[in-house]
């Protein structure tokens, strides 16, 4: 009798977790489709797609900042990979004590309070006229994304067995040819994953963009911020949902791509 009783605490804990994770998302979805919702009502008074039309109408702020966001993210990915591929390869083939020290150095920008860092970055960029430019924002995002890019590409290169390269060298391939025909293709899934991480990081980045980009560069997170401040919860919610799409999509993609042997070497 009462066979379900022992399951009750588990069900409660599970429900609680579900609420913590999905509760805010539900609120977001409600706001995205609410046309009228004010205190003291628990649920919106009218649902509709009015604000969606507003967001997606041509030449709207939202579409403009989405395009800006994507361009910035793509440039950031390009800059990060251009640095991380040679750096990751060198680090993967470097002896261990040095590797640990250099990897830690890439973590440094992350270690300090980001507000303090970005205020100073903004001050310095101002001197060079980089404030309010796409270049400035890309630079800030690149420094931020580099830690992921370097760590993951290092792991990806370290997972490529040295003998596989030597086998190519051995039968006549130069170092460069070996890199492009053997090492790079084998490390490609890991590099792909790091590119995706950097892309998502750039898409979501707020603090640096705020200090360096405002008011000339408006990315999606900045738009969301101004919309919330102005009380346009619907616009903010819809922007948030748009930001969610690439994140969830890429996460599924990354999960399929990153193999355990690469993950095991991250940071090692």
């Amino acid at each position: 009798m009462r066979a379900w009783l022992p399951w009750l605490p588990r069900a409660i804990v599970l429900g609680l977790f579900a609420f913590i994770i999905f509760g805010p998302l539900m609120n977001l979805v409600l706001w995205a489709f609410a046309e009228q919702w004010y205190f003291p009502h628990k649920l919106p008074l009218a649902y509709g797609l009015k604000f969606w039309n507003q967001v997606f109408k041509p030449r709207s702020d939202a579409i403009g900042s989405l395009v800006t966001s994507i361009w910035i993210a793509l440039f950031t990915v390009g800059a990060c990979l251009a640095l991380a591929i040679p750096a990751g390869y060198a680090l993967a083939r470097l002896s261990l004590p040095w590797r640990a020290a250099i990897m830690l150095a890439f973590l440094l920008p992350q270690a300090f309070p980001s507000l303090a860092v970005y205020i100073n970055v903004a001050r310095i960029f101002y001197m060079f006229g980089l404030n309010g430019t796409i270049t400035g924002v890309v630079l800030v995002h690149t420094v931020h994304g580099l830690v992921f890019a370097v760590w993951i590409t290092t792991a990806a290169f370290a997972a490529v067995d040295r003998d596989l390269e030597l086998a190519a060298r051995n039968i006549g391939a130069s170092g460069l040819v070996t890199f492009f025909t053997v090492t790079l293709p084998l490390a490609a899934p890991g590099i792909m994953a790091s590119a995706i991480f950097v892309f998502l990081e750039s898409l979501d980045e707020f603090t640096g963009t705020f200090f360096v980009g405002v008011p000339d560069v408006t990315t999606l997170p900045l738009l969301m911020f101004t919309a919330s401040l102005a009380g346009n919860y619907q616009i903010a919610a819809i922007t948030a949902l748009i930001l969610l799409v690439p994140s969830v999509g890429f996460m599924l993609f990354v999960e399929r791509f990153l193999k355990a042997d690469v993950m095991a070497k991250v940071g090692a």
Binding site: L166, A167, N170, I171, G175, L186
Partner: protein, 371 residues
């Protein structure tokens, strides 16, 4: 020695402060199959990697057909290696892997396809050209690795323990296949192995390495029957060692009778390379378990031919590995492994009969009493 296909002269290689190869010199004739034999850590793989250009050389010279290649990068040496791990690229098909070296050499596509087909046929891999490596068995992978090396017609083929990842049964087969293939193609081959039998079966000449130095070089029969050091004797299977006392007698030596052994005279012509005829004092005798015979202990010299050294002992352990029995015989405070066809019991007192030619004598090392 300019005519040698491969000429290694006083080669030294260090890993950090550790010198792993010391004054290694070796000349290999064209078409010869040489095995580098030694236990792990003896430097045999390092020697192979120095020849292929993967590790840098501290001193010495490596020459190929008269060309000095000591400081050339690996891709300019005209060699091909079969790796222990096979090192097959998981992102390519069998045909792409075998054709890789040819594509680098800008060989026209139809010619590559033809050559790959010929290699696949030669290695009995027909129909597997479009398979990915991950879909192949261990034996097939091993042959693909060999095919990749052979496709470029290398001057020198390097084999780095290529059989150690195969099942014992397949390994025996592949030994003979590789040997036959090497003979047919006439490629100069250097083969690294820790397996004595593999080296004996495959190689024309065996180089035994010990602690970064060449201990002995010779044909399989020579290193087996005429070891020049206790290390080679023990490594080639003569692991039983007994301390004896000798003095010069006539034109040879006389072994003095001891607590557990009979006396024996040895003519100078019967002495191996390990000991001079004029030697006097303690020596170590190495012998193989299968070269000894067991018999009753009815007075030394009585039941045994006069050219036998007889040790007296007691059986402490018996096993049957197949074909014959194997006994552990305690002689004094030492134990010897001896093979014999007759069935004996643990506890039996026995004599171990050793014909003169089965004894490998060396001056005793004062550091190690009793060998």
């Amino acid at each position: 020695m300019a005519s040698a296909a491969l000429d290694v002269v006083e080669l030294e290689v260090s890993y950090g402060p550790v010198r792993v190869l010391k004054q290694v010199s070796l000349a290999v004739a064209a078409g010869e199959f040489v095995a580098l034999l030694g236990s792990s850590g003896c430097g045999k793989t390092t020697l192979l990697r120095a020849i292929s250009g993967f590790v840098s050389v501290a001193a010495g010279r490596i020459g190929v057909s008269g060309r000095d290649i000591t400081h050339l990068p690996p891709d300019k040496r005209g060699m091909a290696m079969v790796f222990q791990s096979y090192a097959l690229w998981p992102h390519m098909t069998t045909a792409q892997i075998i054709g890789y070296g040819l594509r680098l050499r800008k060989v026209p596509k139809p010619e590559i396809a033809e050559r790959v087909r010929a290699i696949l046929a030669m290695l009995k891999l027909e129909g597997l050209g479009e398979r990915m490596v991950t879909q192949l068995s261990g034996g097939q992978r091993q042959r693909v690795a060999l095919g990749r090396a052979l496709a470029i017609n290398p001057e020198i083929l390097l084999l780095d323990e290529p059989l150690s990842n195969l099942d014992a049964r397949i390994r025996e087969e592949v030994r003979h296949e590789i040997k036959a293939l090497q003979h047919k193609l006439g490629i100069t081959t250097i083969h690294v192995t820790h397996d004595r039998e593999e080296a004996m079966v495959m190689a024309d000449r065996i180089v035994i390495l010990d602690a970064g130095q060449i201990a002995q070089v010779g044909a399989p029969e020579e290193v087996y029957n005429r070891p020049t050091s206790t290390f080679v004797a023990a490594f080639m299977g003569a692991g039983n060692a007994i301390a004896l006392d000798v003095r010069p007698a006539g034109n040879g030596l006389a072994i003095a009778a001891g607590a557990h052994n009979s006396a024996l005279g040895i003519a100078a012509s019967d002495l191996g390379p390990g000991l001079d005829a004029g030697h006097s004092g303690p020596v170590v005798a190495h012998f193989r378990g299968e070269a000894a015979r067991l018999g009753p202990v009815d007075g030394p010299g009585q039941a045994w031919p006069s050219d036998h050294l007889v040790l007296t002992g007691r059986i402490v352990q018996a096993s049957y590995p197949g074909g014959h029995y194997r006994y552990a015989v305690a002689v004094g405070d030492r134990q010897f492994m001896v093979d014999d066809a007759q069935r004996l019991s643990v506890g039996d007192a026995v004599g171990i009969g050793l014909p003169v030619h089965a004894l490998h004598l060396f001056p005793a090392d004062p550091q190690k009493p009793g060998g």
